[in-house]
Symmetry: C2
Subunit: 147 residues, 2 copies
DNA sequence: ATCTTTGCAAACTTTTTGCACCAAT
DNA sequence: ATTGGTGCAAAAAGTTTGCAAAGAT
């Protein structure tokens, strides 16, 4: 495999540096955690993961890093149904379908939304940003259950 | 016009009563506020509106009433992009497009999402619930602006 | 009369801010 | 050396809960 995660980690950090950001312990740990995770992590899940590796990284720092990383276009966040945001690296663009029954997150390629996007632009002069919203509904199993 | 708002108010309250809920000052004021508003009200906007009419209604009560009204299927909520929920009466089904630039909310009929819905069900065995998510993006004016 | 709903105060969760210290470049 | 980043503590914002009093049926 050649340790692709490490390569990706370094690539992301290099990008960060190129854009004027500094590479710190906290940021390294956060990006590493995002690479390892499913890519749908809330701030507190991320905090837990990071602190498992680096116990001295404060949750405050997590928030500030995420903000900085978003500014540097390395990280993006999506809002799932109930208000908490989930974070992921920007090199993993996709849509999120979130099951209201069990919380399952299904990833869907952007192309799936292209027709809708064109239609809404034509009719409502509104350009949706596909990566920044989650679509709620029910997965097969939960749709079968009444509630 | 024949005061359609009052008629609708009474109709909603009657429904509430039929389903075992009690009609109180707070609930009457909340439903009235929802009828008057654009239908995209956050809990604190609603609190402000209600308290303008009924100063003694506490914000706690607003939350509890909204919960009860949702349980009774009179009210539903949608999550806009940044975590806060907006509430509306269930007799106004529609989609929400929310501009990330200026906060503009565009309402779109459900039919607009029918094709996407069918497609996602076929491909991903996932049934989206159109009324329960907001789609973020940019309105015409904000799309023209760089940021 | 009964049982639901409300007001209040306080707890709670999640995120943000001020400030002095520390570290990456 | 400089400027950006971090830890800590404390505040802020939004929502929930326990309990006794008030209100709707």
């Amino acid at each position: 495999l050649g340790r692709p995660t490490d390569e990706r980690l370094e690539r992301v950090l290099e990008m960060l540096r190129q854009r004027g950001g500094r590479v710190t312990t906290a940021r390294r740990a956060i990006v590493a955690a995002l690479l390892q995770s499913s890519g749908h992590v809330t701030a507190d899940e991320l905090t837990a993961t990071v602190q498992a590796a680096q116990p001295d990284v404060h949750s405050t720092t997590i928030y500030r890093c995420l903000e900085a990383l978003e500014e540097l276009d390395v990280v993006d966040h999506v809002h799932l149904g109930h208000g908490r945001a989930v974070y992921h690296l920007t090199d993993q663009p996709h849509q999120h379908l979130v099951c209201e029954g069990c919380g399952l997150v299904v990833e869907v390629p952007d192309e799936q939304f292209a027709a809708l996007r064109a239609d809404l632009r034509d009719r409502y002069a509104f350009t949706i940003r596909p990566n920044h919203f989650a679509v709620l509904g029910r997965c097969e199993r939960c749709a079968a259950t009444s509630r």
